[in-house]
Structures are given as structure tokens and as C-alpha cells.
């Protein structure tokens, strides 16, 4: 169940953004993509998901080639996306958000159900019937994660999962990711909070202007304050 990106290049209109991204998310591991704003983190996710066309390079997941496929085929191969800015469906209720795109295409044992999502995020249970346009940022984030889980992915991709959330809510999201990692789900995480991420993740890739400029384990990253300062502005 490994995800492998090799030499991915992508562009928005005329300006090229990615200049050959290569990374790997081994099965059951939590890997992060770090870097300042505008370095291509989100573009890498959008390219991998088939939302933005790939100029060059290859994407393999569980041995299958995904590059060039439309987004819905990539998702069906087992990639669950929690997008930047959460992008929940405001005109649907919380329950509808979870159910609308739910699926168990790979006949996973013990698939995700609405009840399991509510168990993990009690806040959502109370708001099940309300239109999620009225939810707070934190609740929308949990809903966005729940919605992705309901498609029973083999790899969960979280783009800025804790951006703009209060410290209390951020802590809850970290613990949730911890539990998901325990359950064997591989996770690709994009986040700015280096200190929290080094406690959780197995491997890190640091991006600068569309290139991977450093990668290593949490221990190695903590030992390199220069990398942290130069590329992550910490």
C-alpha cells in the first residue's frame, strides 16, 4: 500500500510550480510535507489527486499507475483527501456530508460508518442535522476528515489540517491522527506546526520553490535547526 511520486512537474497556467517532486509514503506510515507558503505543497497534493494536470513524472499507489487519471479515479484507488480550507458542502447537513460521497470500494473489513465518525468526533454528533455552513472552523475540519474516512481510503491526505484553529482544537486533531496512525492507516500530512509534527510523523519532506530540498526522520529534523530556520522560518 505504498504511495510513490517520481519527478512530478506541474504548472498553473504559464508559471511552473513543481520542478520534479519525488517522495514515498510507505504503508502504515505518517509522512509530512513541510515548507513555507507558496512552495508547492498544495500543488503537489492537487497534482497527485489528478485535480491539477501533471506535466511530467509518475504516481504509483499499491503498484498501480495513477498519473494522468481524473480525480475520481485516483480517489477510487484509495486516496482520501482532506483539502486545504476544508471545503465541506455548506448546503448539505453534517450527516449528508458524510453519507453523500461515502463508499467502500475496496471491501475493507470493518468499514467506516457515520456512528464511528461521530464516536471519534463527538462535537459532530450534536450538529448532525444542521447545515454545515453554520459550523465553526474546528467542527468543519473534523467533518472534512470524517467525510474522507467514509470513503474508506488506504491513504489519507490532510492539507493544512490545523490551519487557523485554536490550540485546543489543534490538539484534538493531533490526537485523532495519532489514533488513525495506530489503526494502520498511512497518512500524508501538510502542516506548519513543526514542533507538533516531529512528535507524530515518521518521515518528513521539506519543499522550497517546488523542489524537495531535504528529507529525513523526525529525529534528524529536530537535530537540524538550520533546516528548520532556513526553510520553515521557525
Amino acid at each position: 500500500m505504498t504511495l510513490r511520486l517520481e519527478g512530478i512537474e506541474a504548472a498553473y497556467g504559464l508559471s511552473q510550480v513543481l520542478f520534479g517532486i519525488s517522495l514515498e509514503v510507505p504503508s502504515g506510515r505518517l509522512v509530512t510535507l513541510l515548507g513555507r507558503n507558496g512552495m508547492g505543497k498544495t500543488t503537489t497534493v492537487r497534482a497527485m489527486m489528478g485535480i491539477v494536470p501533471i506535466q511530467a513524472g509518475r504516481v504509483h499507489f499499491d503498484g498501480r499507475a495513477l498519473h494522468g487519471l481524473p480525480a475520481y479515479r485516483v480517489a477510487r484507488a484509495g486516496l482520501g483527501l482532506v483539502p486545504e480550507g476544508r471545503q465541506v458542502f455548506p448546503n448539505l447537513t453534517v450527516r449528508e456530508n458524510l453519507v453523500a460521497t461515502a463508499a467502500n470500494r475496496r471491501r475493507a473489513a470493518g468499514p467506516w460508518t457515520v456512528e464511528r465518525v461521530f464516536a471519534m468526533f463527538p462535537h459532530l454528533a450534536a450538529r448532525a442535522r444542521s447545515l454545515c455552513g453554520t459550523l465553526s472552523g474546528g467542527e468543519q475540519q473534523m467533518l472534512s476528515i470524517g467525510r474522507a474516512l467514509m470513503t474508506n481510503p488506504a491513504l489519507l491526505i490532510l492539507d493544512e489540517a490545523t490551519e487557523g484553529l485554536a490550540p485546543i482544537v489543534r490538539a484534538e486533531i493531533w490526537s485523532c491522527l495519532e489514533r488513525l496512525k495506530q489503526s494502520g492507516l498511512s497518512i500524508l500530512l501538510i502542516d506548519k506546526h513543526v514542533e507538533a509534527v516531529t512528535r507524530l510523523a515518521d518521515h518528513h519532506y521539506v519543499l522550497e520553490k517546488g523542489r524537495v530540498v531535504w528529507d529525513g526522520t523526525s529525529v534528524e529534523l529536530r537535530a537540524r535547526p538550520d533546516v528548520q530556520h532556513r526553510y520553515l522560518g521557525v
Binding site: 489527486m49 485535480i51 481524473p70 480525480a71 475520481y72 485516483v74 480517489a75 477510487r76 482520501g80 483527501l81 483539502p83 471545503q87 458542502f89 455548506p90 448546503n91 448539505l92 449528508e96 456530508n97 453519507v99 453523500a100 460521497t101 463508499a103 470500494r105 447545515l131 467525510r147 474522507a148 470513503t151
Partner: protein
């Protein structure tokens, strides 16, 4: 009748966020196909089935060829592209069936009257239209608000890319839904055939009234479309029936028969202007289905 068209348009427009001026053309295509099939086979049922199926396909073809890339574009592009479609359909129909109007008769089975209340007789055919309209309303309302298909359509209207990124082939879904919207218009068209004449451009006359219905009812809500259709239908029929006599008593018969019809046809527009002036979002603003 108005409601049938309004329901189809609400489905396509309110929920899929696509302004489709060519909806009238699909109404016309439906009427033509039904009339042709009826005249050819003589059976109303065959005509209905054929017209709905054929328009469904035509609708999907139109969606794939012209409209697919327009969902994200702004309404102006949609208005213009569908304006082009109208020109195309009106002429195409004129080429195939000529410019003269076709007439069909109300099917024998429905041509009688039914006894609503003692002394009040109502043409059976029109009653059927209303029944079909209500049935469609119910069906649409249930599908949109209570089924997963309905949820997906609504989700797609607010964020197509996200629905695709969660594994749903939203493009195909929209093509199919647009097809059903077209079939709804065809249903309206084929039922209108026997009552009004079937001629090129018939779609546009009713199209504007349908837009008035939708804007008054509240864009994007099936309930609004139903309410709007009832209000506009009543105002229009009452206006045409009673305006001239009341007017002639006020400003004399000669001026009345001059201004009467003018005012009657303008009534619904004045109504629309009034509604929009006080409630720009319509009577039943869409709670997005």
C-alpha cells in the same frame, strides 16, 4: 404546465447552477417529436415514450458537446452559449418540419370532461396535466432532499472538484441529470402540443414566463417553482379574463379593448418587478434543496 417547465429548469438551474435558455428549445423538441410520433403511430403512449427518450438523449448530447465546460463559468457565458443553442434548435426544427405550425388532437381517452363538483366541469386533459405536474413535483422533491443522488447533485452544485476528489464521477452524473431536466421540458412540451400550436419558437414564449415563475418563487427551490407557477398561472388567466371588462367600465370600452390585452400580458412582468423589488431573493428563497 408552467410548473413542469419550471421544475425542470429549477433542477438544472437552481441545483446545477446553470442558466439554460435552451430549456425552451427542449420543450419545443419534445412537442415536435411527440407530434410526429403521434401522427405516425397514432398512439399517444408511444409518442410520449419516444419523445421523452429522444429528448433525454438530445439533452445529454447537448450537455456533453456544448455545456459541459460551462458549469464553472459565469452566468453570462451560459446565457450566450444557450442563446446560440436556441438559434440552432429553432432553425433545425424549421428545416425538418417547416415553419408552419403542426396541430395534434387531444387523445380520445382524455378528451372528455370530468365532474369536479356538481355543476363544475373541467376538461379531463387539463386535469391530467395538473396531476402530472404535482406528481413530478413530489418526485423531484423527494429525490433532491432525501436520496443520495440528490445530495450528490447539491454537493456538486457547490463544489464539483471536491465531489470528484471523493471518488464520484460528477461529470457523468451531471450529464444524466441534465438529460432528465431536458426530458422534463419535453414532457411539458408534448402535453402542451394539443393545446397550443407546435411551431418554431414556441419554446421561447413560455421560457420567459417560466423564468418569471422561478424568479418569483425563489431560485433553486422546488417549492418556490410550484408556488411561482400557481401565482403566475392565476394572475395570467385572471388578468386575461377579467381585466378587459373591469377596464372598459373605467375608461370606456374602445380604449379598454385596446389597452386590455396589452396590460394583461404585461401583468406578470409587473408582478415580477414588484416581487423582486420587495424580496429580491423570491418568495421561497432556496434553502438549497
Amino acid at each position: 404546465m408552467l410548473f413542469l417547465m419550471a421544475a425542470g429548469l429549477t433542477l438544472v438551474f437552481g441545483i446545477m447552477n446553470l442558466v439554460n435558455l435552451a430549456h425552451g428549445s427542449l420543450y419545443m423538441v419534445g412537442a415536435y417529436l411527440a407530434t410526429a410520433a403521434f401522427n405516425w403511430t397514432g398512439s399517444f403512449v408511444v409518442a410520449v415514450v419516444w419523445a421523452l427518450a429522444a429528448t433525454l438523449v438530445v439533452g445529454m448530447l447537448v450537455e456533453v458537446i456544448a455545456l459541459r465546460t460551462l458549469y464553472e463559468r459565469d452566468h453570462l457565458d451560459q446565457v450566450l452559449a444557450t442563446f446560440g443553442l436556441i438559434l440552432f434548435f429553432n432553425e433545425a426544427v424549421a428545416i425538418v418540419w417547416g415553419r408552419a405550425a403542426l396541430f395534434t388532437t387531444v387523445p380520445r381517452a382524455l378528451s372528455g370532461h370530468i365532474q369536479l363538483l356538481p355543476g363544475i366541469r373541467y376538461p379531463a386533459y387539463r386535469a391530467v396535466i395538473i396531476l402530472v405536474g404535482l406528481a413530478v413535483a413530489l418526485l423531484l422533491y423527494v429525490v433532491v432532499t432525501h436520496t443520495r443522488l440528490g445530495m450528490l447533485i447539491r454537493a456538486g452544485a457547490s463544489n464539483r472538484t471536491m465531489v470528484a476528489a471523493l471518488g464520484v464521477n460528477i461529470r457523468l452524473l451531471y450529464t444524466v441529470v441534465f438529460g432528465f431536466g431536458a426530458a422534463l421540458a419535453a414532457l411539458g412540451g408534448l402535453m402542451a402540443g394539443p393545446i397550443y400550436a407546435v411551431l418554431p419558437g414556441m419554446g421561447e414564449e413560455i421560457l420567459i414566463q417560466v423564468f418569471v415563475v422561478i424568479v418569483i418563487g425563489g431560485i433553486g427551490s422546488i417549492r418556490g417553482a410550484l408556488a411561482g407557477a400557481v401565482v403566475v398561472g392565476m394572475v395570467d388567466t385572471l388578468g386575461r379574463a377579467f381585466l378587459k371588462p373591469t377596464l372598459s367600465s373605467v375608461i370606456g370600452p374602445s380604449a379598454a379593448d385596446n389597452a386590455g390585452p396589452a396590460l394583461a400580458s404585461m401583468l406578470i412582468y409587473i408582478l415580477m418587478a414588484a416581487v423582486l423589488f420587495f424580496r429580491p431573493q423570491g418568495l421561497f428563497p432556496a434553502v438549497r434543496g
